[in-house]
Assembly symmetry: C2
Homo-oligomer: 327 residues x 2
C-alpha cells in the first residue's frame, strides 16, 4: 500500500526537488519534472530511437557498489544501446524503486553520479517516477536518441564476407566481477582496471555515430561476444567464422586462465560488435585512429547459419558457454 | 549475479518470443523486439509526449491480484498520464522485473492482459527488458503519445475564475482497496464495483483529446483530489475554493462513512481534474453527453495560493489527509 504518512510523501517531493529537478533543467520539455509527462520533438530529418534497460541489485550490480556507480552504470548500459543503433542520445526517463533503508546521502550521491554522466554524454533527465519498494533496489531507464532517417545501425544488416569487428577489449568486465567476488586476485593496478570495466562501462557513442553508412550491422556486447554475435547472425540469416587468437584482450585481463572464456561469454563489456565490407577497412582504420580506440577484425561473416570458432592453428574451438541473454 | 544457466536464458528468450513478440507486431519500428532499440517518428505537426510510471507489488497492487489485472493496471496508469496531457497514446516500453517463483502461466496471462488493453486503447509494445529479480514483482512502463504542437494540456494553465471539473466519480478506488483488505464489507454488487475501480482504472483518453483547446489546465487524479488539485494550483500560481457536497461519488461509494475522505484523499481513481473558462460550460456539457461521462464542477480557481474547502453550508471543512505524492 502507499505510505499513508504525509512526512514520507514530503520526503519524496523533497528528494525530487533537491536532487532530480536540477538534472532536468537542460530540456524545457521536461517541465522541471512538475507535470504528468514530458514533451519532445525530434530534430527535422531525424528518427527517434528508444531503448529501456532495467538494473536490479544482486543481478546487475552489487549491494556495496557506490551510489554514483549504480547511477552511472544504469545510464551507461542504456547509452550503449544508443551506440549500437548509431544514435545520438538526447534524454532519459528514470524509474527508481528504492528500499526504505537507503539513506538520504545515498540519493544525493546517486544524483551526483547522474549529473556527471549527463555532462559527459550530453543527455538530460526528462521525467520518471520514484517509489519505495519492499524489495531490492531496482532502476529502470528509458533512453531516447535520434539518428538521421534510414541510417540506424541494425543487427540484421550483416552480409556474406563482411569483416567482423569488435571495439576495445573484451573479457575485462567479467573478470572484474570475479575480483569483486574474491575469486580472482590480480595485482592492484590490474584489479582496479578490471573492476572499473565491470562497474563503469564506456558506451561507444561516438563510434556508433561514425559507423553510420559504414557498418552493415552492429550490436553492443552486453550478453557476451558469442551470444551477441549470434543475435547478429540470427537477425541477418548468416553464419560466421571467428578466431580466438584475434579477440582483443587488455593487458590486465589476458594473463588470467579464464580470460578467453570471459572474452567469449562473459558479457558486460559494452563494446560494439559490427560488420562491414572489406572495402571499408581504410575508413574504419581512420575512425579507430581518430578515437584512439582499437577496432579489431576477429573474423568474417559466411553463408549459412553456423558460428565456427577456430584457434590460432585453425582448429575448431569448442565452448559451451554462450553468455547471458535478455531482450 | 546473472543466472549462469543456459536453460534459464532460454526460458527468457522463449517467453519473449511466445508472449511479448506478438504484442509488438503492430509497429514496424519495434523490429519484433529483435534489436537493441525501437524506432519511432511522430506524425507531422505532432509533438511526442512521454511518461513513465512504475508499479511495485505490495505498493501499487496486491500479491493476489491476477496477472491480467496487474498488466492492465500498469498500462492504464500510464495511459492516464497521456489523458492528462491531452495526448493520443501510441506505444509503450515495458521493463518486467519478475521473481523466479512466478509460474509460466502467470506470464501468459500477463501478456494476455496487455494484448486486451492494447486493442482497447490502440497502443503497441515497442520494446523493453525482462529480468529475474530477487525482490518483489516490479513493472516499469514508459508510454509514448502525441499531441498537436502547442496543444498539450498542462498543470500550469489554470486562470482565476476558471471552473474546476472532475470526470466520473471519486473515492471508489480507495474504498475498493479497503474491501480487498477486509476493512469494508459492502453488498456484493457494490464490492465488485469498488474493487474494479481499484484494480482497473479507466484512463480518460478521449476526454483528454476532447479537452484540447477547451481546458486551461489538467491532471489525472492518482494521488487524491486534494493533492492533485494542489499540484495544479502550485504549477499555476493560483488558489481555489471547492465544495465537498459537489464532489461526485458513485452509488456504491457514497453510503460509506469514509467516502468523502476517500474522494478527497484516496487517490487511484485516475479521473481527470481540469479547469476551464465558464464560457466553456456548453462545450463541456456537450463533451460530457457525447461520452456519457459525468463532468462535474466542484469549485473555482481563485487569486492567491490558498485551497479553501467548504461544505454544503459554506462552512470551512478541515482535513489533514492530502493523499499520496510522487512525481
Amino acid at each position: 500500500m502507499p505510505d499513508p504518512g504525509f512526512a514520507s510523501s514530503d520526503d519524496e517531493f523533497g528528494f525530487i526537488a533537491r536532487h532530480l529537478r536540477p538534472l532536468a533543467s537542460g530540456h524545457s520539455g521536461a517541465f522541471d519534472l512538475t507535470d504528468d509527462a514530458a514533451l519532445l520533438e525530434p530534430t527535422a530529418g531525424m528518427q527517434l530511437v528508444l531503448a529501456k534497460d532495467a538494473l536490479v541489485e544482486g543481478v546487475h550490480f552489487l549491494q556495496h557498489d557506490s551510489a554514483e556507480h549504480v547511477a552511472q552504470k544504469a545510464l551507461r548500459v542504456n547509452l550503449s544501446d544508443m551506440a549500437a543503433m548509431g544514435a545520438t542520445p538526447r534524454g532519459y526517463l528514470l524509474a527508481l524503486m528504492r528500499p526504505k533503508r537507503l539513506p538520504p546521502e545515498w540519493l544525493g550521491r546517486f544524483s551526483h553520479g547522474l549529473a556527471q554522466d549527463q555532462a559527459a554524454f550530453g543527455v538530460t533527465l526528462l521525467g520518471g517516477d520514484t517509489v519505495v519498494t519492499p524489495g531490492v533496489l531496482t532502476l529502470s531507464i528509458t533512453i531516447l536518441g535520434e539518428v538521421p532517417r534510414g541510417q540506424t545501425l541494425r543487427r540484421s544488416g550483416a552480409r556474406t564476407n563482411d569483416d567482423i569487428y569488435v571495439s576495445g577489449t573484451l573479457g575485462g568486465a567479467a573478470l572484474g566481477l570475479e575480483v569483486l567476488q574474491g575469486r580472482l586476485s590480480p595485482p592492484i593496478a590490474a584489479s582496479e582496471f578490471l573492476i572499473k570495466r565491470y562497474r563503469l562501462p564506456e558506451p561507444r557513442i561516438e563510434l556508433g555515430e561514425a559507423l553510420r553508412g559504414v557498418a552493415h550491422a552492429a550490436i553492443d556486447i552486453s550478453d557476451g561476444l558469442l551470444a551477441d554475435l549470434e543475435h547478429v547472425l540470427n537477425a541477418s540469416g548468416k553464419g560466421a567464422e571467428i578466431y580466438t587468437h584475434r579477440i582483443p584482450m587488455s593487458q590486465a585481463a589476458a594473463p588470467h586462465r579464464g580470460a578467453l572464456d570471459a572474452a567469449l561469454a562473459g558479457g558486460d563489456d559494452y563494446e560494439l560488435l559490427f560488420t562491414a565490407d572489406p572495402e571499408q577497412r581504410p575508413a574504419i582504420q581512420a575512425i579507430s585512429e581518430q578515437r584512439s580506440l582499437p577496432l579489431t577484425i576477429i573474423g568474417q561473416i559466411t553463408e549459412g547459419s553456423e558460428l565456427k570458432i577456430r584457434d590460432a592453428d585453425g582448429r575448431p574451438f569448442s565452448t559451451n558457454r554462450r553468455g547471458w541473454r535478455h531482450f
